[in-house]
Amino acid sequence: MAAGSAIPQHLLAPETLAGLANLDLVARAVVNGFLTGMHRSPFFGFSQEFAEYRAYAEGDDPRFVDWNVYARTDRTYIKRYIGETNTRLVILLDASASMGFGSGKVTKLLYGKFLAATLAYLAARQHDAVGLIVFDDKIREHRRASTRGGRLSGVLHAIDRAEPGTGTDLKVPFERFHEVEHGRGLVAVISDFYCDPDALLKSVQPLAYQGQDVILFQLLDPQELKPVLKESALIEDMESGQTMEVSPIYMSSKYRERIDAHVELMHKSALRAGADHRLVNITEPLDSVLRSYLLFRQRRG
């Protein structure tokens, strides 16, 4: 089940990242390692290579005004580099009780925190505004998207404080987002999505109509995807506390069919809502997840 052997040396396995004390350090290690491997990559935008000039508009950071051009032309131009888009990323992190499940050292929530931190760090490097909503069945943390200095640090601290809570209600964060975020941007939802796909569709669709680009990271543990039960067991729901005696034969056959169908349905629902859906096995390195994000960003940017 562990994918450690398949992970390149410059990448860090989730178990290794779990040993790092600082989430900022985790994000840097992931992004730097990821960028190191991008030298021969067909992707671009994450370098300081010049791309074009653009007329200064209100709201742009004055630090990026090319004063040399202003001296020659008496006009203010902003210097743009390849990969810079000046967009906004809002991360919706599910911190419900079910996210506390993990068959190894890394739980889904911990992996989600790594992913959220990494995305936030990567976005900050590109000068994108970063916002955060942590939720379970209610909003537990909310940081509005901003490019101001120190914003990344605040987001990372908020991510770090996230602990498994109670139940899940995806409607709540999307409504909050709809209330406070009005500009076009990126929305990354990190959750295990134990919900009705149609309900999710209803929550995501308004954002798509608003012009938001939504990507759904569905985090699942290998035991949730391909569970192995040695004997009949009393299974306790981490959110509701209900129990159910389940036989190994069911878990090894019918359950797998049902979870696969659910993932497939989630994928289709996301597409219908104009969102991207990415299933993440929490044993895989963050590298491949970041790659999915960049593809998504490039496609939408």
Binding site: S98, E224, A233, L234, D237, M244, E245, Y250, H262
Partner: protein, 663 residues
């Protein structure tokens, strides 16, 4: 069932281990947390129930294995009778008990008894067994229990009734031994004439102590008529002969009574005997020949019970003999009354030698018997001398008196004295119970006219025979056999201090009876009970030979024993040292009364046994003393192995369920 090594039952404590593990497993099921039950379905209820049932079955099997293991080590055993054949369904042992008493010789009763026994043999089942017992003076088992009816009939034909009396209580006690050892349920077939005189004092003695069905075969046939000579004696005072003829018939009758002496008829009288009553016949004193004389009295015509139509008496011609009378004062009233009474008995020719202590000259052996007027005056040496004399074959009459008041035990006999409130002056008490069958008191009348104010209250020992008691129950005259001799104890005085007996008409006959009895074969008359024993040494012989009434040599009862069982009526003759003595043995008068037990009593007697057809566990099968343990350990081990195999199978099944493998 019992355990040969019960300590191994401590191994049962190991049952707690699987029980505890079961509880532990039940309390701590395999519980896992999971993100959501959204895609889960509960296991099939049947499967879950099957798992629980299987787990309980597994627990039961494991507990069973441990219990059986402990039991196998504890070696349980059942007690079984070694001999086979004790458990045949419905089989019975018919214990055919033939009443062999003298009354069964009446008419054709014995033939009917045989017929009844044969009827029982006709009816026994193929699995039944039968055994024949002849009950008379002794309990005689005629062969083993068998299903061979032919041999049983042969045995039956050889059985004959005797002359003895049968007491049913004694019979039931004797039968207990046979019932106890029986391997089959017992049916007690008692073939008898159910004589009323054979009933015990307590009705409960008729109940068998072990369960058995009682079947009474009454062989009587209507009313039986019988006339008998129920007593015959000679007056020790006058020598006059008296016979009593008793009727057990419904009608008055006239009977002829014939007296014969040494085989020659010397007298005959006609006597009218009332229905159910008695008639006395007296004959004058006989001219006796030297030595012992055979005197017989017979009633005729003969009836259906011949054995009781004749009575015998051995009478000896008197020879001068001395009696020692010990007293505190030779001129006292005690020795006066005693010596006067004794010397009046011309038939005994006694001379009283009244003396005071000390003893020794002449020696005690010169006297026929000794009379002590007050045992309290004897010191220890004198008491020891008289005791040695008695135990050597001597006879003594011991009386009490004022000197006996401070004693706690009597000298010579050693009998204990009760706390004695009667020693004080009191209102007079008459004589109560009298054993009229004893030779001392036979024919002694008007005893109850005497009045007693004081007596010594003696605690009778087991060997003592109380011949006479006061009305308040205090023993008055007791007999004890000591060694080869005999002692009579009179618990009051022989003077007039404590009673007025010496001046009563009964005193001389009483002293005559006492003297004649103490003299034994040397007395005027000599009698013995049928069924008792006779030893030649008791008659003063050494190495004498005893001949029975038919003239045959009577054999001793056992190796080295000189005692001879008196099992015939008539005259036994003891011959030795150039002389001979006769002992008359007579029919037990109680057998002459042929009246049967009433129907109600018979029904009650039958009710003391188990009901016909009721299943009765053979006593021998339940008696541990007759059984041997048979271990059932091998059976337990077999079951244990079976349980182990089942435990493995069920355990495997249970694990399949736990693993979720399709069953």
């Amino acid at each position: 069932m019992s355990l040969l090594a019960p300590a191994f039952l401590l191994g049962l404590l190991a049952v707690g281990l699987p029980w505890w593990l079961h509880r532990l497993s039940s309390d701590n099921p395999n519980k896992q947390k999971f993100s959501s039950l959204m895609f889960l379905e509960p296991g099939e209820p049947r499967r879950v129930l099957a798992k629980k049932v299987q787990y309980l079955l597994l627990l039961a099997l494991r507990v069973g294995v441990l219990v059986l293991l402990a039991l196998a080590f504890a070696e349980p055993a059942i007690w079984r009778t070694p001999q086979a054949g004790g458990d045949a369904d419905g089989a019975r042992l018919h214990l055919i008990v033939l009443d062999g008493s003298a009354s069964m010789g009446y008419g054709d009763r014995w033939d009917r008894a045989r017929a009844a026994a044969n009827d029982v043999l006709d009816d026994i089942g193929a699995e039944d067994r039968a055994q024949i017992v002849l009950a008379g003076r002794q309990f005689e088992v005629l062969g083993p229990a068998t299903a061979d009816v032919a041999s049983l009939r042969q045995t039956l034909n050889t059985a004959e009734p005797g002359l003895f009396r049968l007491e049913y209580g004694q019979l039931m006690r004797s039968i207990d031994g046979l019932i106890r050892t029986a391997e089959l349920p017992v049916v007690l077939d008692l073939v008898t004439d159910v004589q009323a005189t054979g009933l015990p004092t307590r009705f409960g003695e008729l109940a068998p102590r072990r369960p058995a069905e009682i079947v009474l075969h009454d062989v009587t046939d209507g009313a039986a008529e019988n006339w008998t000579v129920d007593s015959f004696g000679a007056s020790t005072v006058t020598g006059e002969l008296t016979a009593s003829i008793r009727s057990f018939a419904a009608d008055d009758a006239t009977r002829t009574v014939t007296l014969s002496q040494n085989g020659r008829e010397v007298g005959e009288q006609e006597v009218a005997v009332p229905a159910g009553g008695r008639a006395e016949v007296a004959f004058p004193a006989l001219d006796l020949a030297r030595g012992s004389n055979r005197v017989e009295v017979a009633v005729s015509p003969a009836d259906d019970l011949v054995a009781d139509d004749r009575r015998y008496l051995a009478i000896k011609r008197p020879e001068p003999r001395k009696v020692l009378v010990l007293a505190q004062n030779v001129e006292g009233r005690g020795p006066l009354f005693t010596s006067a009474a004794l010397e009046t008995l011309t038939t005994l020719a006694l001379t009283a030698d009244v003396r005071t202590t000390p003893l020794g000259d002449p020696p005690l052996l010169d006297y026929s018997f000794v009379v002590v007027t007050d045992v309290g005056l004897l010191d220890a040496a004198q008491a020891k001398a008289i005791q040695d004399y008695v135990e050597g074959g001597g006879r003594a009459l011991l009386a009490t008196g004022p000197r006996s008041g401070g004693l706690t035990t009597l000298p010579i006999t050693g009998q204990a004295l009760r706390t004695n409130p009667q020693m004080g002056a009191r209102a007079g008490v008459a004589i109560g119970e009298v054993d009229a069958t004893h030779p001392v008191l036979r024919g002694v009348e008007e005893l109850r006219a005497a009045n007693f104010t004081r007596s010594v209250n003696v605690e009778p020992a087991e060997a003592d025979r109380v011949l006479m008691s006061l009305a308040d129950g205090t023993p008055l005259l007791l007999e004890r056999t000591m060694g080869a001799g005999r002692v009579l104890l009179f618990t009051s005085s022989l003077d007039r201090e404590w009673n007025d007996l010496p001046v009563q008409p009964a005193f001389v006959p009483l002293m005559a009876g006492i003297a004649n009895h103490l003299l034994g074969g040397a007395g005027f008359t000599s009698e013995a009970d049928l069924g008792s024993t006779l030893a030649s040494r008791a008659l003063g012989f050494a190495g004498a030979q005893i001949f029975d009434p038919r003239g045959g040599a009577a054999l001793g009862l056992g190796a080295g024993s000189e005692d001879v069982l008196l099992d015939q009526v008539g005259f036994y003759e003891v011959v030795g040292g150039g002389t001979s003595e006769l002992v008359a043995v007579n029919f037990d008068a109680r057998e002459s009364d042929l009246k049967p037990v009433d129907a109600t009593t018979l029904e009650r007697w039958r009710g003391l046994g188990v009901r016909p057809g009721e299943q009765v566990t053979p006593v021998a099968a339940a008696a541990e003393t007759d059984s041997v343990p048979s271990s059932i350990g091998p059976w337990l081990v077999t079951v244990l192995l079976l349980l182990v195999v089942m435990e493995s199978l069920v355990g495997n099944w249970h694990l399949r369920i736990r693993r979720g493998v399709a069953a």
